[in-house]
Structure formats: C-alpha cells, structure tokens
Symmetry: C2
C-alpha cells in the first residue's frame, strides 16, 4: 500500500530530500457522522466570499430577491409551464436585472458582469426561466445592441428590455448548426423597392430550435447570407448578416410569408417555446439590416468597416460570447445545486448498520460515495472561480475594448468557448451522479434532480456544440493568435498550423505571472511533490503543451497535400486536438482557481481551498494516469500514491462536506425537498457541537 | 506515431518473432460516405442470428407482434400516460407472452428464457410498459409463483396472469432500499385470532417507490419481519417473509388501515404509477403468508425447510434474479435502439464541407464521432451475447434446479447482479452519448432519445442499486462459494475473506473450457499480441484476478480487529472491491461474447464480430491503461499502439456501421422519426451498390 510520503516522491522515483518549503500542516477532521445540520458557519462564509467573486453585491441582491417561485414547477403541462415561465420573465423584467446588461446609452447600466452573475444564479432554480431570459435579453436584445445602429437600438431596445416586445435569435438552421458561416437563408436586396427579400430556399435552411419562436416571439433577429446586386446586376454575397424580421402580429398569428412550427416536447426546458421558422420571400425595409458592421445604401451598395468577410463574421458572432459564458455559468450553478442536494442527503440517509454501534452508516461515510461526490465538489469550486474570471474578463472587454489587442480578445473568446464546453458537459455528468447518489429518492421529481438533469442536458449542444467548441480551443492553441485565422477555412488552418511554433504556445499558456511566481519558487525540481502548488501547475500546463506540440507535428504531415489528404490528416488527429483543448482548459481553470486561493485572506478558508485544489489535481492525475505514465511524466509509484492520496483527501473533505456546500450560498428554499425531511432519513445522531470543527 | 505492428509487440516491449498463427486478414472497407440506406443485408442477417441467440423464435414472433403503439407516446399527461400503458398491458396479456414465464402447473409454459427475451424487446419501445409488465408478472406474479404454496398459486395466479388482478411487489421502504434484510415492516402472528398483523411501525418503514401502488394495484406482496410468539409469549423474529395484503377495493379506494400515496412525477416512466404504502395494524388471515420456505401453523408455530435465517432470506430473494436479468436485458435493448438512431443520423447528417468535394461531411466520418459511437456498438454486441448467456443459465436453473450445485447457483446470481449493474449504467451513458451525437435534433422528444434516457435512468437504481450489486460481485469473488456466506454479516464477511485462498478464485474465473482452449493454443506467451483472442482473454482475466488477490490481502488486515476497525478496513477497500467486480464482469462478458463468436458459422459475420471483440478489448485497455501500466501488464509502447489500433478499427467499423446496427433487428417503425427524414439531413450522395461491401 502507498502512504502520504509516496506522493512526495519525485518524478524519477527517488526519495525526496528536504523540501525548500515544508508541506502545510493539514487540519484533522471529525468523522462524517458529525452534525448533519449547517456546517461551520464562519468557514462557510469565508469560502463563500471566494466563490462570490467580484460581483458579490449582485449575488447578494439576487439571492435576496429569489423566492420559491423561481423553482421549476412539477407536473405542469407544456403550455402551463410556458405560461408560468413567461410570468416569471415579467417578474424578472420588473426587478431591473435584465437592464444591467445593456449599455447606458441604450437605457442599461453597462454592467455585463452583473447581469451574467445574476442570470447564473437562476441556475439554482428553473432553467427554463434562465434560458428564456437568455434568449430574450442576451441573444435577441444582444444582437440588436451589438449589431444595430443607434436608430434601431432606440426603436427596439426599450421594448425588448421591458418585455413589451419578445423576440427570437434565429441563427441555427435544420441543416446547419455548427457551420454558421454556411447558413442557407438568404437576404437579397431588391434595388427596385429598396427592400430585402428574406427567404428559406431549401428545407434544410429552415430556422430550427429557436427559442420564443413557437409562441411568444414577435420579431426575429434572422441570420442570413446578405446578397446585393453587383454593378452588372449579378448577385454578390457578403456573407452572413443579421436582419430584424417581424414574424407574428399582436394576436400571435404568423405574418404573411412566415411559417412557424412548434417543436413541442423536448427532453427538458418545457417552459421555453422552441420552434422552427420558414420564410417565403418575406420583404423587409432596408433599415431591417443590423448594419453596424456591414451596411447597404439605397442604391444597393454594400460597405463595411471590416474588409474581410471572415473577420466581419467573427466580429458579428461576438454576441455569442456572452451567451456561452452565461450558459456555462448557469449550468455550473445547477451542478452546485445538485451536489449540495446529494451531499445533504448523503449526510442524513443511512444504509447498513455499523458493526459496532449498530447505527445506520451515513452514505457519505462510504469510500465509494466520497469518491463519487468529493472530486466533483472540488471541481465545482474550480469552475466557479474560472467562471468568475471569464465574466470579469468579458466585463472588462465590454467596458474597455481598447485594452484588448487581438491576441487577448481571441484568448478570451477561446476560453469562453472552452469553459462552456467543459462546464456544461461536466455539469450533466455531475447532476446524473448526484441523482444516482440519492437512489430512488433522487428519481422522484419532487427532489428536483431529474428536472435539473433534463433541462441542463441541451446546454451541451446549444450556444455551440461542446465538441465543436473544444475543437475551437484546440485550433486556437495551434494557430496561436494568428490574425489570418478569421479568413481561413479548414484546409488553410491545417496548412497554417504547420508553421506554428511551439514557442508561441508556450508564451501564451505560461503568460500568467502567478504561474511564473509559483514555478520560480520551486528551486529544486527533483524535490517537488504532487501536493506542491507550483508542481501541480507545471504538471497540468506541461500536459497541455505536450499535446499541442505533438498534434502540431502530426498536422505538419498535411503540408503541401491536396484538400482531401489534408482533411484526412486533420481528421485522424481530431481526438488529439480535442485532448489538447481539454487539457488546456484543465490547466487554465486550475490557474484561475489558484489565483482565487492566493487572493483569499482567511487562513482556514485558504487551507480548505488548498485541499480542494489538491483533489482537483489528484483527480486529473487519477483519471488520466495513462497519459502521465505513457509520457514519463510520473512513475507508477507516484500515480499509485496519487490515487491513495486522493482517497484520503476525499475522506477528509467528506468530513467538511456540509460546510463546503453551504459555501455555495444557495437559497435555503431549494433544499425544502421531501427526501431531506421525510421518513427515509434520520436526524443526525451525533450533533455535538465542534465534532465537525477544524481543530 | 504508432503502427499496427506495434500492437503486436510483446508485453516486455521486445520485437515479435513469428506468431504461431498469423493474424487474420482484415477486410478493407469503403468510406462512410457510402450508402446510408440499409446496409449489407446478408451480413446483417448473419450477425442478427448471433445476437438473437437461443430464443430466436420468440424474438421473431415478438418482433412481428410489435406495432407503433408500443412506442412511448409524447406529450401525454401523467394520468393519460398511465391509462395508455395500462391499455398496452392488456394487449400484452392477450398475446399470451406473459404466460410463458409461469410454470406449466400454474397455467404457464415454463419458458423463463422466452418471457425474458420477449420482455427485453419491449426495451425498443416504451420502457413504462416494460417496467409495468415486470412489476405485474415478474415481481408480483413471480413472488406468488416462487414463494406461494399450491393453494395460493391456484387462487391468485390465473387472475394475475390475465390482469384481472393487478398487484404490487412491496419490498423497498423509505429508509431501507439496499439493506432488505433489515426492513422494518412487521407481520406479527396473533394466536388469538389466527391472523397476521401487518404494520408500519415508523415513518421510515413506509413502503416506497412501489410500482402499481399509486393507482392500479389491488393486492400487495408485502415483505416484512415475520414475528411469532415463542412459548413464553415473547416475540420471536424469523426474518423477512412475504405476505399477500389487499390494499384497495374494486373501486380503487384504500382498504381500512392502508394508506397509499402517489409519488406523482418522476424523472421518467410516467406511465408507471409508483406510490407509497403504509399499514396501520392491518389484519390478514394466516393463509396470506407465502409459506413455501417458512410456514406458521394455527398455533403460531414456525417451521421452515431452511434452517438458517440468512440462507432462507437469500433463497426467497431468488425472485429478484429474474427481475435483474430482465432489467439488464431491456436497458441493453434501449441502448441498442439509441445507438441505431445515432448511427443512422450520423450517416445522413452532414456538418462542414469537405475541402475537395465541397460536399457536407457525414458526422460519422469524423474521428471523434466514430470514437463516441463505435466502441459502444462493440460493447452492445458483447452485452447482448452475455445477456443471452445469463438468460439461458437462468432458464436452465428454473427447468433443472438439480443441475445446479450451490456454487453454480451462486455464480449465476452474482453474474445476474453484475450484468444488471454493468449494462444499466452503461446504457444510460450510451443513450446520453447518442442524444449528444444527434445535436439539437437529439433533444427533441419526437426523436425518442430523451424519453429513453429519462426512463432508463432509474434502471441503475431499482432491482438493486448498481454500486451495491457490483459490490456483491466483488464480495462473491472474495468469498468464493463459501456456503457460510448466507449467514455472515459485513464483519464476518471481512473476517472470512482473510482465509480466502487465491486458488479458489482462480479456479472459478478460469472455469471455462473455451478460455482454457484459447489460452492453451497460445504456445509462446512472448509472441502474443493485443489482437490475439487468447491473449485478450488472459489480459482481462488476469486484471480481474489481480484485483481480487490484492483486495484479499488488504482485507486480511482486518483479522482479529473489532467491528469498528474491520469496517474501516472494508470501507477503505470499497473502491478496490468495486474495481474487482467491474473487472470480473468485463472478463466474463467478453468470454460470453467470444463463445458466441466461436459458435457463429458465417465466415463474414465471424470476421466482423472478431473486429468488434478487438474494439471491446482495445477500448478496455484505452480506458484503463493506467492500471495496465501501473501493474506492468503492458508497456507504454503497447498502450499507445492499442489506442492507435482502436482508432483505426473504429474507422473501419464506421464504414459498416449501418450493417452493424441493422443486425440489432429493431422494428423499422422505431426509426420513423423526424430527424431521419426532415430537411436537416441529406439523402445519401454516393449510394452506389457495393461501396460498403466487404471485399
């Protein structure tokens, strides 16, 4: 068997010498069979401060404003649920929260971070409400705000904000989800009448899965290929642009030429009315074009401040970044809710009697139960901190775009995509695990977990499919800030990647000063161990870099090949590119977590967070030990020791589990569920004060 | 990069010499962009024959009897869905299929294999129907059939079979799910009146999650602690027994002393009316006791043919074995359905244009998509074969119990538990992956995947929680057929395990003659490779054995310790015990798969199945490479080569994907879903005959 000391062995397996800094003393913990009531309040408050982040005030006011009505109702029909959510949306509009996100000149508060934080917290309640809010204010309102000129913003935004005008963000088509650049819907300028003709030329061009399209939407922000006549009258395609197209009259009837269809029942989110929209040569005035980045004058002449079609397209897609950040944040909140429910249940539900005491053993006292939940609790902390970081970055970008050179902006975009993919995928697994950890009770809708799982499921697909987004992270690492990227199609990307130098990547992933500081402090590499923070960062960054470097080498093969061969090379490396993207997100997320820990001033909290960080890394090592061994990053002694240390730390953390989830600061009414109160669970048997204490 | 040859390197990394048998030539495959219509019919038929197994005739007649009405309806309210399923249940009763499973003397056909196979196929449709059928005929009917005397069987079974009497299987309690031996409900004999008094003494003793309890059930098979007065009039507890207790009158009202509650909405299975039942000193006549294994005479004297309480209890639980086998089989069928939907979609849905042809690339042509789906297709084949094997074993047991010594019976029980845990957990992950692989379309209820996922979710929990069942497999491996086990509580198990000798385990897991034959044929161990069948078996069996041996060594520490310390030792090894159980199930499942392949007479099919077997093993190696490296079972060169070979084989199999899922022989109406027909997908562009052919 392995011991704690083994974890501290160096990578080459030699016995450790005297470390430069002695490992921090770890607190001793009581057993899980301590109190199942509220945990250590002081510690929970200190931890909460770290998780609350920059927008702690917004969190507080939102938390106070939340009532049980924001929870997902059970057993309503689809139409009833839609009606209920629309009502909740109105209440949300009245709070003034949605306004936060719009520019001051548009009647908002210019507080992107605030609105993202507030919407994140809707993830503790009914995700239908969160999604409908995101569709209305984030996507529909966001498109007008980001792409419209002053006149159009003045005309529509007040009503969009107040909810007098509900709208759609009509981008996805039945045949084109991820490949937005090749949407089929057309908007052709008719010089005779000065109008655009919006059309759905093929069945696959029908707009699909569009929120607000089945029932409530009146106006749609429609993405279409913008076509103007050139000087010979031939069609000239300027790429995808966005136009505002009315789709319903005030009685809710489709307007002439528009056909909407209700998607009906989905896997979840029954409160959101998703539908399809088809356009049969619908005419809209020239002013319908949101022309901030591309305008058409009365003569049909096209002009844009951005020359390249590709660059313009990616600029216009900027609207999606907020959406991605928002979706990641809300699904993180949902996962924390699920974990808090499962942890609380694990502390009061007992199974099998203890051989000595004869009392039932709380589920969370079992090793397997600890391993199922505690690494997820650790990751929940890390993701929450990373999510705070990306929200802060986006907020700064929106406030001071000039601070952002192309490189910083692209990095932000890649991380927004990456964290959305990482968190939403993980959240669904986590909610599933939480539901399983609650047994039969977990399957009853009244205990919330199944609805949460069903609703959050599609978060892995919308706002960018997770595989496509993670691939985007991998590609971005490869092309490392090349400004040409915007114009490059898949083949060119491959070809371009060949010239990529590892140095650039290195520069990028190692840019953080914190990282440098921590790594510099490690004076003797041989004596570092898996519980050393600098070594942990090094381990994760090194994995990510190695994956990028080796994938670049593979792609180099495609150089000079024709398109077919180049695609083959790219495709056979696809799993490798995705692995690079995932590894990078692990290291980036961990870096954000460590930064948040460093900034924490409460000593007990910092210690506890340090253990969570250890669990994060040991869990990565445990799950990917094949890689670390294959690439001689760790010896088999060390990987075995890592697993043993992970087990021990999970047991320790389980002793503080209630405190750890209390720090999520989820409104208490969320936990008013039968499984935490009914006859299936026992009151805590050993509720002596201090049994769960730190000392 | 690695090449196919690397896979053939020996474990010590030396260059291979001349293998005794040359590796079989592998067929060349066309590209995925071949026909998306029906695959290779002859090959599909040959493969289907392997999957259909012993009860091919039952499969055929059931398949022919299935109509679109068995599919899960969309958008019904809970009450409407319950009504619909009850109607379908009546139709099912009329087919005579449920009768198959009962003994001939009880009006059945004594064909356990037949009924299990037929119920498995309901897994292609509405799982609510499958579960309600399982509750009514499998559990309720099964309890009467297995535990009742001739009189009681004659009295109730005809109505239970015909559906004139709907019933419940009331075992689980709110506070006791997995620890059935410690149920709290009591049935106390009152000598004065000659009745049993059935009582729910505490809130946690309430029967919970019981199918048919909320609405349709009239009579419940209630599991309770059987208490009789001893000669001094003191209560004497004989352990858990089963009694038939009427719960509702013919108008559906609760009978006096009985309180039923509706669980209402669940995460899925809305067509099944689960509820709670509480008994307030309900009196039933002495004949209500199902007394085959334990009877009480008019004087209140208890007698049983099985002396030990523990052994008697496990005998009575025999009813659960069929349930476990049935649940595993149906969720396997659901997973195959999900895979077939996702594969078909992956062949017709295109994303991004090919750089050369300009045509959209089918999803299944992408490496990542292949890696998501093809290893699951391979495992679906393996599980189907293993499921056929356990059904055949159970069928033989029910027909010829005398053929089964204690050891064989216990092995069957462990495998029934293990396959239930393995398949249901995997099925849920697989349905999730299939839904993700279908993007936005996958989330629309009309395309069936989300309902399937929601319904199958609880299969991981009911009929034995998967963690508890897998632990049971691990413990069974440890205690290896000790007849004492039945009486041992957790501490004793631990203590007993200390005396366990590795030889016994070895004998057990290596019992198969096929395995012996294949391993014997490998004359020179050094020259074996990862594509050699004997070596593959050896690899999987060796992993399982090593895990069992090392866990036994750990448990030895508990020897002589008190209960508290012994539990600690057991608990800290829990993840290890589970890993042993899972590894054993992998090797057992693989063995069943290989036996089925050996029995296949069609050469093309055998070749294809061989590739699926390779993918099964390479996927195990890829996912668990950390273990194989840590324990020096494989070198890093070999694990890397295994991953590369897995990638290549997945691409090859993707070229035959349609054929592979056609062989599942799922009724075609299941595929009449919008996403396979609407504008989002293209007709196959290169449907030239033979493009997908074997040659």
């Amino acid at each position: 068997m392995t011991s704690e000391t083994d974890v501290q062995k160096s990578a080459d397996g030699s016995t450790p010498g005297t470390p430069t800094t002695p490992p921090p003393a770890r607190p001793a913990f009581g057993r899980v069979t301590g109190p199942a009531g509220p945990g250590d309040t002081a510690l929970a408050t200190a931890l909460q401060k770290v998780l609350d982040g920059h927008w702690a005030d917004t969190r507080r006011t939102t938390r106070e404003a939340m009532t049980p009505e924001v929870l997902s109702p059970i057993g309503l029909s689809m139409e009833e649920h839609r009606e209920h959510v629309l009502g909740q949306l109105s209440r949300l509009a009245e709070t003034g929260i949605p306004k936060l996100g719009f520019r001051k000149e548009d009647g908002g508060a210019g507080d992107a971070g605030g609105v993202l934080t507030a919407f994140e917290m809707l993830g503790h309640g009914d995700l239908s409400l969160m999604v409908k809010a995101g569709v209305q204010w984030g996507l529909f309102g966001g498109a007008i705000s980001n792409l419209g000129n002053e006149e159009v913003r003045r005309k529509y935004l007040p009503d969009a904000i107040s909810l007098d005008l509900l709208g759609c963000f009509a981008m996805t088509e039945l045949g084109q989800g991820s490949d937005v650049q090749n949407l089929e819907t057309t908007a052709t300028f008719d010089r005779e009448t000065g109008e655009f003709v919006v059309d759905t030329p093929t069945p696959s061009a029908e707009k699909a899965y569009i929120g607000n399209a089945a029932r409530d939407g009146r106006l749609a922000a429609v993405f279409a290929q913008l076509i103007t006549p050139d000087k010979d009258g031939e069609p000239d395609n300027h790429g995808v642009h966005c136009l505002l197209v009315p789709i319903r009259d005030s009685d809710g009837n489709d307007l002439p030429g528009v056909t909407t269809t209700d998607h009906g029942h989905k896997g979840g989110l029954l409160g959101v009315d998703n539908g399809r929209i088809r356009f049969d040569k619908v005419r809209v005035p020239r002013e319908a074009l949101l022309d901030r980045f591309g305008a058409v004058d009365a003569d049909g002449l096209y002009s844009s401040s951005i020359e390249s079609d590709g660059a313009r397209f990616f600029t216009m897609l900027g609207t999606l970044i907020r959406g991605r950040v928002s979706v990641g944040a809300a699904s993180g909140a949902a996962a924390r809710t699920a974990l808090a429910l499962a942890v609380r249940y694990g502390l009061v539900r007992r199974q099998f009697d203890h051989p000595e005491t004869g009392k039932g053993i709380p589920l969370l006292e079992y090793r397997e139960h600890q391993r199922r939940l505690m690494p997820r609790v650790a990751r929940a902390y890390a993701y929450a901190c990373a999510q705070n970081a990306i929200i802060a970055e986006l907020d700064e970008f929106e406030k001071f775009p000039d601070y952002f050179d192309d490189r910083r902006r692209r990095e932000m975009e890649a991380h927004a995509a990456g964290i959305k993919a990482a968190v939403t995928g993980w959240a669904n697994e986590t909610i599933s695990e939480a539901r399983l950890a609650c047994g039969g009770a977990g399957y009853m809708a009244e205990n919330r977990l199944t609805t949460m799982r069903a609703d959050a499921d599609v978060f892995s697909t919308f706002e960018g499919d997770n595989v496509v987004l993670m691939q985007l992270v991998g590609k971005e690492l490869l092309t490392a800030y090349a400004s040409e990227f915007g114009d490059m199609d898949q083949v060119e990307t491959v070809t371009f990647a060949l010239n990529m130098v590892a140095d650039v990547v290195q520069e990028k992933t190692r840019a953080s000063t914190l990282w440098q500081k921590l790594v510099d402090s490690v004076t003797d590499r041989e004596h570092t161990d898996l519980l050393d923070r600098g070594n942990q960062l090094e381990l994760l960054v090194d994995r990510s870099e190695h994956l990028v470097e080796t994938v670049a080498r593979r792609l180099r093969k495609a150089q000079g090949e024709d398109g077919s061969e180049a695609f083959k090379v790219f495709n056979s490396a696809q799993d490798h590119i995705l692995a690079a993207g995932r590894a990078h997100m692990d290291s980036w997320v961990f870096e954000q977590f460590v930064e948040a820990i460093e900034a924490c001033e409460d000593e007990d909290a910092r210690e506890m967070l340090g253990m969570l960080a250890d669990v994060f890394v040991l869990d990565v090592v445990d799950r990917d030990k094949g890689w670390f061994l294959e690439h001689n990053r760790l010896t088999t002694e060390r990987t075995k020791a890592a697993t043993a240390a992970l087990n021990r730390l999970c047991t320790k953390l389980a002793g503080k589990a209630r405190t750890l989830v209390d720090a999520f600061a989820i409104p208490e009414f969320v936990f008013d569920v039968p499984m935490l109160n009914d006859g299936g669970v026992d009151a805590p048997v050993e509720a002596a004060a201090g049994a769960e204490g730190l000392g």
